[in-house]
């Protein structure tokens, strides 16, 4: 696979490590308690289709990216810096 790094252009997916659902950006406030964190840590939408997900450019510039990818076709629809997504307020 090739990942369109927003700063570096197309990079081979082998340079990255994969974490999972971009919902992991939305870490709850401690007040959410165990139930809120259990949702955050464990539950996933796991869609067969468009999926927003976190990739780490470990063998590269160490950016965390939010990549939008179709899990049925592996087609990549876009990639953003996770930091920008987080600061923009939506994940």
């Amino acid at each position: 696979m090739l990942i369109p790094h927003p700063l570096l252009g197309l990079r081979d997916a082998q340079e990255f490590t994969y974490l999972g659902d971009a919902a992991l950006l939305n870490r709850p406030d401690p007040a959410a308690g165990e139930a809120g964190f259990a949702d955050y840590v464990y539950l996933r939408d796991n869609p067969a289709g468009v999926h927003r997900e976190l990739w780490f450019h470990e063998q590269g510039d160490r950016s965390w990216l939010v990549v939008t990818r179709n899990t049925l076709t592996h087609e990549i629809l876009g990639a953003e810096l996770a930091r920008d997504v987080k600061l923009g307020g939506t994940a």
Binding site: A13, Q14, Y18, E34, A38, V41, Y42, L43, D45
Partner: protein, 416 residues
């Protein structure tokens, strides 16, 4: 009519005219006591055990494609009960005991072959952790042997003992482990369940659940509505998609695991060998193909295919471990859909929807579990209580912190 050597001879002499269908193709009835969604190994085994052990015969298995067409039909066929944790090991040992009488119970030769599995040891720390695992196996009667380097070398002389990046220092062996003919397992259960009255309905895709007042009433399918007293879902890689139709999110991600087979070769590898340092495992099928695999590709996928880096990585692992396989050729590679759970262990439990039961999260280890999974899921569906060996496989263990994390990798499926 039963299968036997005598019958094969008789039919051969009379032109094979007497062989009938292995199972019927019934039209779905309007209502069943229990509907199993998923005609893979686990679903078929569940139906079989419901009929066999729990006297439930108004049972249907709904399969969206052809029965046995999921992971039961594309895996590396390994059976073993070499787990560490008390939540797992007794369950897998139950499965192994079923495997040991599979042919006789089902009157179908699924070619269970107990040629043993060896997990290679590459460091002192690994030996310590395998000792802990081996002792868990001993304590459940599964049996285990800790092999030193010399014993290992006698058994499998073709490994790379002399020029390895990760030296081979021994192995943990389960002699009762081995392989089974994957398709034969699905067919054996299907035929036996069918003979006991279970309706196996192929090309019948579940498109929704009918839920009234928090209670499941039946399923909407591509072949119409089918009423059900209880619905058990055993759809492996499709768990996320199917349970979403009941409004449930799961601690599961779907990933792709590639597996590989070479052209047929005369016998070279006696049992199953796993090379943890290189993420590689291998056995040889009765037809002679070397069957091997490695890590999951590592990203969420429903595409049922993987990519080159993992293929290269697995081949490297194989070459590093057993350099003599280099001139064997890869014949086929394929990708299976794995329902990777957040602690690497399965879930067999009721759900918040009354009457809806779930069996999934098998990661890449569902094949060996097939008999026990069917047994304990049937037990749960029939009695509403978990089977003794499956009490830990609860859905709420994640929220409550009772994880069954063999690898200690935490809530990241691609690390399990």
């Amino acid at each position: 009519m039963g299968f036997s050597g005598f019958r094969v001879i008789k039919e051969a002499l009379t032109g094979h005219k007497g062989w009938g269908p292995l199972w019927r193709d019934p039209a779905p009835r309007a209502q069943y006591d229990i509907v199993i969604v998923g005609g893979g190994g686990h679903g078929l085994a569940t139906a079989y055990f419901l009929a066999k052990l729990y006297g439930r015969h108004r049972v249907a298995v709904l399969e969206k494609g052809w029965l046995g067409g999921g992971n039961i039909g594309r895996n590396t066929t390994i059976i073993r009960s070499n787990y560490l944790l008390p939540g797992n090991q007794p369950f897998y040992e139950l499965s192994m005991q079923h495997w040991e009488r599979q042919e006789q119970d089902l009157n179908f030769n699924s070619m269970v072959s107990q040629r043993g599995i060896i997990n290679l040891i590459h460091s002192d720390a690994q030996r310590d952790s395998f000792r802990r695992r081996g002792n868990s196996m001993m304590l459940t009667g599964a049996g285990a042997r800790l092999l030193d380097r010399d014993e290992l070398r006698q058994m499998v002389p073709f490994l790379n003992y002399d020029n390895a990046r990760f030296p081979i220092k021994g192995g943990l062996m389960q002699t009762r482990a081995g392989t089974a003919r994957h398709d034969g397992v699905a067919w054996g259960y299907a035929r036996a369940a069918d003979q006991m009255g279970v309706d196996i309905i192929q090309n019948c895709e579940v498109t929704g659940f009918r839920i009234e007042g928090g209670q499941v009433r039946g399923v909407e399918t591509s072949r119409g509505y089918i009423g059900a007293g209880k619905v058990g879902v055993a759809v492996a890689g499709s768990s996320g998609r199917v349970m979403a139709m009941a409004g449930l999110r799961l601690p599961i991600e779907s990933h792709v695991l590639q597996a590989f087979v070479t052209e047929g070769l005369k016998p070279v590898i006696p049992g199953v060998i796993t090379f943890g340092a290189g993420h590689f495992y291998i056995s040889q099928s009765d037809k002679g193909g070397l069957v091997f695999g490695g890590d999951i590709d590592g990203y969420n996928s429903y595409a049922q295919r993987g990519n080159l880096p993992v293929i290269e990585d697995v081949a490297e692992g194989g070459m590093a471990l057993m350099p003599m396989i280099g001139r064997a050729r890869l014949l086929r590679s394929w990708g299976g859909l794995m329902d990777m759970s957040m602690d690497g262990s399965p879930i067999i439990d009721r759900t918040p929807v009354e009457g809806l039961y779930f069996n999934g999260g098998w990661c890449y280890g569902g094949f060996k579990a097939t008999p026990a999974s069917g047994h304990v899921f049937a037990h749960l569906l029939a009695t509403d209580t978990p089977h003794d060996t499956a009490t830990a496989f609860r859905l709420d263990r994640f929220a409550r912190g009772h994880l069954i994390d063999e690898r200690g990798a935490g809530a990241q499926p691609n690390l399990h």
